[in-house]
């Protein structure tokens, strides 16, 4: 059973209640002027102007179905849980920051000013709350039902229903249904998603497959190359041996 969140740009009024709830639920105390994701700020509501209209767009971890961060981490510090949230184990992390490099949404952030025990920080979709059967803090706090929490398949059906019922309002696409293999967090909007600041160049398939297709070939490459090099060595060696003493067979 996989949970997720649906964020509807058309409903968001920009009250920032989700930010406050997120800060509180995760024990973060960011200064008020922090307007992008940071180690102590796991979601922000950005305001962008599209066609002269102000739009409020949340930024948070998308909790991909097949996450890049999980696949790239050399020590397995990230995990995609069955419930949906992508969680992080700070006891494994050695701070290589490949997760930050690989994330197509630039979500993971780092405690740059911690000299001894820096951690990667990001939204973990209130994993403890979800485990206890509660909705995420941000969804519970939203007064406009712009962010709703639920099972991913239900949310997906709801999103398509909203588009079908209001085709002149919505941009006909559910962001997160297929992007980079899909994500637990889904976006609905009345504008093109790229104009709202979401990456517009993501392939449909999961990104880890790009490395997987190379990684799967490696055993084959090693055996073939090893055998070829060994064979070359043997042939060259043998020919030189014979050239040195032709009577030896």
């Amino acid at each position: 059973m996989s949970y997720g969140m649906l964020f509807d740009v058309t409903r968001c009024v920009g009250c920032l209640a989700c930010e406050a709830a997120c800060d509180e639920a995760n024990g973060n105390h960011p200064p008020e002027d922090v307007r992008d994701l940071r180690y102590d700020k796991w979601t922000v509501v950005r305001t962008v102007e599209v066609d002269g209209e102000e739009k409020h767009v949340r930024r948070m971890c998308m909790h991909c179905q097949d996450p890049s961060c999980v696949s790239v981490c050399p020590v397995g510090a990230f995990k995609k849980t069955e419930l949906g949230p992508v969680i992080y184990d700070e006891n494994r992390c050695m701070g290589c920051r490949y997760c930050m490099m690989a994330c197509p949404y630039n979500v993971p952030t780092y405690e740059w000013d911690n000299p001894t025990t820096p951690r990667v920080r990001k939204c973990i979709m209130c994993y403890e709350r979800v485990k206890a059967g509660e909705p995420t803090a941000c969804a519970a706090a939203c007064p406009a039902e712009a962010t709703v929490f639920g099972k991913r398949e239900d949310l997906l059906a709801e999103a398509h229903k909203r588009i079908a019922e209001n085709p002149e309002l919505y941009y006909p696409h559910v962001f997160g249904e297929h992007e980079a293999g899909g994500s637990s967090v889904l976006f609905l909007a009345d504008k093109n998603f790229a104009a709202l600041g979401l990456p517009g160049n993501l392939p449909e398939g999961p990104l880890p497959e790009l490395t997987g297709q190379v990684l799967h070939r490696l055993p084959n490459v090693v055996v073939t190359a090893g055998a070829a090099l060994m064979g070359l060595w043997w042939i060259i060696h043998r020919r030189q041996e014979l050239a040195a003493s032709p009577e030896k067979k």
Partner: protein
């Protein structure tokens, strides 16, 4: 005891190390934020781009030379292998030390070895680098053991040399290419002039072989100057020819990929990326390719050296483009390393050069220097004109 005279380069060395030590203090007492210009938008900078990506690549001479001498039995290059192995060994030590600076929690460097994630390219690289450093240590051991007369141990290493070299070559193939695979997962972030799935690993491997040979040439010239012996053109000029072949293969692969992806147009797009790409191609492939193709230039020490240095510079530019400038546009941030980052990199390079110099003087690395002559005698000092005549005929 005699106090060494303070020459210009020794003074430079002292300044570089002093600045580097101060930066080291800032890095470990105040963290990455205070010592680097890295940010959430630019999580990897100079240390990964230069110290690690270039460091591993520039150390590729170790596996190319050992493969040529021990697997393909090209014994005429034997006397170049020890210096190449030394360069590689020092290179990997530098890379590891640089990682200790770059990792947020350096004391957990060993974590991948016990909690590895088999889907991670970085895990595979970590394993390969660990094993290959061990292989290099064994390959380098005779240079240390011979002066002390530990013949039995040397004989044992000699016995396992071929499988050891084979293991090292396979490990190198894996991680040299995998450094390129690291970037396969960022199709939306790396500029299409450098992002090519699934060819990045192939390009990284070919360019590593190319730059490995170039480094052997460069380092022969430098050590020759430092130790006062002539570079052996008889061995180095044919090496230049092999480098030309690899260069051509690399260039053709690159061209073919651009052609098939229809991204040739991007080269002439007039963007910052296109200029950097052109510079990289001109400096690292075109000009050295033309130089090496002319026997008149290739057979001259100065010409060969120039071509090799250009290949090295082009290679460094390529790795920096992939890791820093090619990622800049999407990150929305202009990253330029902090002076503390630069000074630590310079310190590592300076210490590497010092260690190379000391090893060349006091260990059995070069046939003309050091306390013990290597087992296979090197060819007598090359008479360049004679050789030029031989190749022309």
């Amino acid at each position: 005891m005699k106090i060494p005279r303070l020459t210009f380069w020794r003074a430079v060395f002292l300044v570089v190390v002093a600045l580097g030590l101060y930066s080291t203090y800032v890095r470990f007492m105040h963290g990455l934020g205070a010592s680097t210009h890295l940010s959430d938008r630019t999580p990897w900078g100079l240390w990964i781009g230069f110290d690690v990506l270039c460091g591993v690549g520039l150390a590729a001479g170790g596996f190319t030379m050992t493969a040529m001498v021990y697997l393909f039995n090209l014994k005429q290059y034997y006397h170049l292998t020890r210096a190449a192995i030394l360069t590689a060994f020092l290179g990997y030590i530098m890379v590891t030390v640089a990682l200790l600076f770059d990792l947020g929690r350096p004391l957990r460097l060993w974590h991948p070895l016990v909690m590895g994630n088999p889907h991670s390219i970085m895990f595979e690289v970590a394993l390969c680098v660990t094993f290959y450093s061990t292989v290099l240590a064994i390959e380098f051991a005779p240079c240390v053991l011979e002066p002390f007369g530990w013949k039995r141990l040397c004989a044992i290493i000699d016995k396992i040399k071929v499988p050891l070299v084979l293991f090292g070559v396979l490990l190198s193939m894996l991680h040299q290419s995998s450094l390129g695979s690291l970037y396969l997962i960022v199709p939306g972030k790396l500029h299409p002039l450098w992002y090519t799935s699934p060819w990045l690993p192939v390009l990284f491997f070919l360019s590593a072989v190319m730059v490995g040979l170039a480094m052997v040439i460069v380092e022969s010239f430098w050590s020759g100057r430092a130790l006062g012996h002539k570079p052996d053109m008889k061995a180095l000029a044919p090496l230049g020819r092999i480098m030309l072949v690899v260069l051509a293969i690399y260039a053709l692969t690159l061209l073919q990929i651009r052609w098939s992806r229809e991204t040739l147009g991007l080269i002439a797009a007039g963007t910052e990326e296109s200029y950097l790409f052109l510079l990289e191609i001109a400096c690292g492939i075109l000009i050295p390719g033309i130089l090496l193709a002319m026997p008149r230039v290739r057979l001259q020490p100065r010409g060969l050296f120039t071509a090799a240095v250009l290949v090295v510079l082009g290679f460094v530019l390529n790795r920096m483009n992939v890791s820093v400038t090619g990622m800049a546009a999407i990150s929305g941030e202009k990253y330029f390393p902090a002076w503390t980052e630069i000074s630590i990199t310079l310190m590592l390079v300076a210490i590497g050069c010092l260690l190379f110099n000391l090893a060349a003087r006091y260990l059995a690395v070069f046939p003309h220097h050091g306390p013990a002559a290597p087992r296979v005698p090197a060819r007598a000092d090359a008479a360049v004109p004679e050789y030029m005549a031989a190749e022309r005929s």
